[in-house]
Amino acid sequence: MSIGHTLLGLLESGPRHGYDLKRAFDERFGHDRPLAYGQVYSTMARLLKNGLVEVDGIEPGGGPERKRYAITDAGVTDVESWLAQPEKPEPYLQTTLYTKVVLALLTGRPAADLLDSQRAEHLRLMRELTRRKSGGDLADQLICDHALFHLEADLRWLELTAARLDQLAAEVTR
């Protein structure tokens, strides 16, 4: 999962201090693993360098923790294309997908589309595997089936999330 894109997404709703960013991240995505401060500052430094964020202002007193960041137009575009790009279907994607959905909801983007395109991506791979299965030997079939069952689980999760999108939106933007 891309912490850079996530932080960028969080900035979309308005400029924030580094400390605020960490808190917002932890609150929504860091349930079992809070983000380290160092990671926030190194990431922000990279984004600054790439021109995706800019420093909006510095609180008096100095020190890196006083910097306030704002997203640039290039940053917004970057977030946009990241959200629209379906992940390569593979097992254990849900943290990334979840983050993407929440960010989409937070930034007022169509989360359903995101889910749908991910779903289409998954199904495409499943079709591929199904085709391979019908041509292969038993070992191939078993291997393909393993992947298929995992992908199916993901796809089901996508379906479920899509069905509960309204509920999630209400919770996220509360």
Binding site: P86, D113, D116, S117, R119, A120, E121, H122, L123, R124, M126, R127, L129, T130, S134, L148, F149, L151, E152, L155, R156, E159, A162, A163
Partner: protein, 229 residues
């Protein structure tokens, strides 16, 4: 994906309401010859209703379905029945076989209704039973066979008339994954061989994976997932 041949079935802006609740609310779908289209979506979203509209079993309140350019809503019941006999085949979750007839007679029924002699019809039906690996069920009645076996008989019946479109509504709904996949293999292979298009309503992604294309129906609205990607 296959190169797009001319569409067989085109449904545009279908609306259908049962009482105050809309079952279809502007759904659309195009089926081209020889392709397998999966229709997915939550329960009660209108998948079956869409399928029934496409097959001319249910008449939509508005919008139209064209089969090879002809508007279905303008056809008489007789013409639509004739379509079901000659151009369409059906596989449902269960209950579509006539319990009074043997499996062989069930498979032969569409041919007989289309005017074939009994001998011819049953001979052809027997080859289909063989193809679906259920030859030994020929003399049994649907009540005496398992769900999976019954489903294969239903597939044989759907395909025996060399239809152009097979409508399948949760054909594997009552089967375990192994049997479900077998039925799907047989259905899609046979459809592929005869060049029939398949409209496949399912809840199971692995079943949907046998399709060439996916449509998702939500709240009576359809969404073509190829365009979403």
């Amino acid at each position: 994906m296959t190169a797009a041949p001319e569409p067989l079935l085109v449904a545009t802006d279908l609306r259908k309401a049962y009482g105050p609740t809309p079952a279809l609310d502007g759904a659309e779908l195009t089926v081209r010859a020889g392709e397998v289209v999966a229709v997915m979506g939550p329960s009660g979203s209108g998948k079956s209703t869409l399928l029934h509209c496409l097959a001319g079993i249910v008449t939509p309140d508005s919008g139209d379905v064209r089969y090879r350019g002809q508007q279905m809503s303008l056809m008489s019941d007789g013409e639509r029945s004739a379509l079901r006999r000659t151009d369409f085949g059906f596989v449902f979750q269960f209950g579509q076989l006539v319990p009074e007839l043997t499996c062989l007679e069930n498979v032969a029924m569409p041919l007989r209704l289309a005017g074939r002699r009994r001998k011819d019809a049953e001979a052809l039906a027997a080859t289909w039973l063989e193809r679906l690996e259920v030859t030994d069920l020929a003399g049994k009645r649907p009540g005496e066979v398992s769900g999976g076996q019954g489903q294969r008989v239903a597939v044989a019946r759907a395909l025996v008339g060399a239809p152009r479109v097979v409508f399948a509504d949760e054909p594997t709904g009552a089967l375990d994954s192994l049997n479900g996949e077998r039925v799907m293999r047989l259905l899609t292979d046979a459809a592929h061989d005869t060049g029939a298009a398949v409209v496949l309503v399912t809840h199971e992604p692995r079943v949907a994976a046998y399709s060439d294309r996916e449509i998702v129906v939500r709240d009576g609205k359809s969404r073509d997932m190829e365009r979403a990607a």
